[in-house]
């Protein structure tokens, strides 16, 4: 059994490596990622496609298909409900079955494909409770109904018997949240939970997640590409690029004082609501694209797209995450100057 000294930490990922075997060689989708998520805290992992953020969340749940994928190194320390700490990277599948959907709840992007179309939503939420909490049918139904009410589904006693296709996207995502939280997980992993939703529905769901966290104290690992959503929901943020965390910190510190050129670029390239056509300033696009995970550049992985790169950035070894202010780290050798 592993140990975690800080009793407030729910999840501690240390130097995680997840690799995929491909025709073009080994793809290091996650290449040395470390972060922690505490009780009552939302950590947002933000990045573009190919950054490795979703593979990180799938690795945590041990849902990486193998082969071609495998966890090649590192630790995923998770504190169970009974206080014991386990390294999920090496946990047997029998233990993962007890944890998944029970102590770790999951919400995925696409609300239609994560629900089974041939069962009513009540049956699907009830199944989780019967399996993990050993409730009988009537008790599971009563608990499912309570969950549907908690996530704000109107006329829940009628809708509990509906099928997923009878519901709108926003309602389905509420059902998924109800299902994910049914067993009172200590950790909720939400992978782009609002990306497929309209903004007015997204606002409802984020509001719901905030309220539920305040009630239950659940730790949330929130995966997204949307910095606007991050600012709304996160307490802390880890910015991922090309399989690594390039900057991590408290949400206010990271948004107000971003130190890594990639984080700065991401923030600068989004138009703000107040920025009109008259504004002569162009959007500051980051040139180029994310490097292929099978052919990453040496040195700093962001250097080829970085306006501040110097020869040393590509020739010297990749910089480590350095403390730039309390609780805020960045992986850039030039963070002091820029």
């Amino acid at each position: 059994m592993a140990t975690l000294t800080d009793s407030d930490v729910t999840l501690d990922i240390r130097n995680l490596q997840t690799h995929f075997a491909t025709d073009r060689g080994v793809s290091k989708a996650v290449d040395g990622v470390s972060f922690t998520v505490r009780r009552n805290e939302t950590l947002a992992v933000v990045g573009e496609s190919g950054s490795g953020k979703s593979v990180t969340s799938l690795s945590t749940m041990r849902l990486i298909q193998s082969p071609p994928g495998r966890i090649a190194g590192g630790e995923i320390l998770f504190r169970r409900r009974d206080g014991s700490v386990h390294d999920l990277a090496k946990a047997p599948e029998s233990l993962m079955r007890k944890i998944r959907g029970n102590e770790i709840g999951m919400i995925f992007q696409e609300p239609m494909t994560s629900l089974n179309p041939v069962y009513t939503v009540g049956d699907q939420i009830g199944e989780t409770l019967r399996l993990h909490q050993k409730l009988d049918r009537p008790a599971a139904r009563a608990a499912a109904l309570a969950m549907l009410k908690m996530v704000g589904i109107p006329a829940a006693d009628r809708r509990i018997d509906e099928y997923p296709h009878q519901m709108s996207g926003g309602m389905r995502q509420r059902v998924i949240i109800a299902m994910a939280l049914a067993c009172r997980p200590t950790l909720l992993i939400a992978d782009e939970p609002t990306t497929a939703l309209d903004v007015t529905i997204q606002a409802q769901i984020l509001d719901l997640m905030r309220r539920l966290q305040a009630d239950t104290g659940t730790s949330i690992l929130f995966i997204t590409h949307n910095l606007g959503v991050v600012a709304e929901i996160a307490h802390r943020v880890a910015v991922m690029y090309a399989g690594r965390v390039v900057e991590e910190g408290d949400v206010r510190s990271l948004f107000k004082n971003p130190r890594h050129p990639y984080t700065r670029g991401l923030l600068a390239c989004m138009p703000h609501l107040g920025q009109g056509k008259g504004a002569s300033a162009r959007l500051e696009a980051i040139p180029g694209t994310v490097p292929s995970p099978t052919a990453r550049p040496g040195g700093c992985v962001f250097a080829p797209r970085c306006a501040h790169a110097q020869p040393a950035c590509t020739t010297a070894e990749e910089p480590a995450l350095e403390l730039v202010e309390p609780g805020h780290t960045a992986r850039c050798r030039r963070w002091r100057e820029i």
């Binding site: 903004v199 007015t200 606002a203 606007g228 709304e232 206010r252 670029g265 390239c269 609501l273 008259g278």
Partner: protein, 334 residues
């Protein structure tokens, strides 16, 4: 800009889709995807069209180009009514009206080299000669920020942002006056979005294009548009010059949409107008104002047919709401 006949003049455009059922697959109901849409787009003007899924914005864009046949209404392009035109006559018009699609992965034929993707448009419209074809394509690729050697490659060899550049080059190949850009950046990563938005803005200004820019991202729309129209459940709720719409939205739906947009600033005030529920079924829209079932400011009179009328509340600022006391964004509270 307001006196001249606009390049595009749309009046009372309607597009209905049948819902078929029963043994004979007869229409059993109708969906009004676009209902009573009127809009002018002037030469060189960018009009943003925003709304959530199901608002009818994509159907509107396609009906205007007659990629979908409108059910009723009038579309005049450069003074000519195009709704009744034959296929051949319409093809000639299409040279002047083009579209850029949302998904750069689905909108390019994977078996065509880039030079054929773009060359096809030139062939159909009989533009240029065989000899100058290569130069023409190279110039187009250069214009969208790609190099000439891209022309001999296949779409799968390009990233999403590069593919969208190819889609833009294809649309521009026939030198159109008007482009419908249907969510052109929403499938792209944020860092690449900015590249493509900058490109579209530069090309629009350089070529004096009129653009209908369809999107759900309000910040991107404001950045590129002169005027913005907001649609909900097939109907236009509000249209105004960008500044006026964003600074002082008059329709409760616009207000809700603006307040729901997440801002990348953890200290931004969150004066949310949280809407209850979802968009109603377009098969059975509410009477009167279609937004009234979710509107926090609805009155009994909103159910009357008169509540659908557009009225001008400030110069060029039209709104389909009967109330004048909708709060300004800063003072709107949850």
């Amino acid at each position: 800009m307001t006196n001249a006949e606009p390049l595009l003049r749309i009046r009372n455009l309607q597009k209905r889709f049948p819902i078929r059922g029963g043994l004979l697959q007869r229409p059993v109901a109708w969906v009004n995807a676009v209902d009573d849409l009127s809009l002018d787009i002037h030469r060189g003007e960018v009009v943003g069209l925003v709304g959530e899924s199901g608002s009818g914005k994509t159907t509107a864009g396609r009906s205007i180009l007659r990629l979908l046949e409108p059910t009723a209404g009038s579309i005049r392009f450069d003074g000519q009514e195009i709704t009744g035109l034959s296929k051949d006559a319409m093809r000639a018009q299409r040279r002047r009206m083009q579209i850029v699609f949302q998904d750069p992965y689905a909108s390019l034929d994977p078996r065509q080299r880039v030079r054929d993707v773009i060359g096809e448009a030139l062939d159909i419209h009989g533009i240029g000669t065989k000899e100058d074809r290569r130069d023409r394509i190279a110039a187009l690729l250069h214009k969208v920020g790609l190099t000439a050697d891209a022309m001999d490659r296949f779409p799968h060899e390009f990233s999403g942002g590069q593919r969208q550049r190819i889609g833009i080059a294809r649309a521009l190949a026939v030198e159109p006056d008007f482009i419908v850009a249907d969510e052109p950046v929403s499938a792209l990563d944020v860092s690449v979005q900015a590249q493509v938005v900058n490109l579209l803005r530069d090309l629009q200004q350089e070529l004096g294009l009129a653009v209908l820019f369809i999107a759900h991202d309000l910040a991107v729309v404001r950045y590129i548009s002169d005027r913005v129209a907001v649609m909900y459940l097939g109907r236009m709720m509000e249209i105004a010059p960008s500044e006026s719409l964003y600074d002082r939205p008059r329709h409760p739906y616009t207000l809700a949409l603006l307040s729901a947009a997440p801002t990348p600033d953890p200290d931004a005030p969150r004066n949310r107008v949280l809407l209850d529920g979802d968009i109603p079924s377009p098969m059975n829209p509410p009477s009167g104002c279609v937004f009234r079932t979710r509107c926090p400011f609805a009155l009994p009179a909103c159910a009357e047919p008169a509540a659908r009328a557009m009225r001008e509340v400030a110069p060029g600022h039209h709104v389909a709401c009967i109330r004048d006391d909708i709060p300004a964004p800063a003072s709107a509270v949850v």
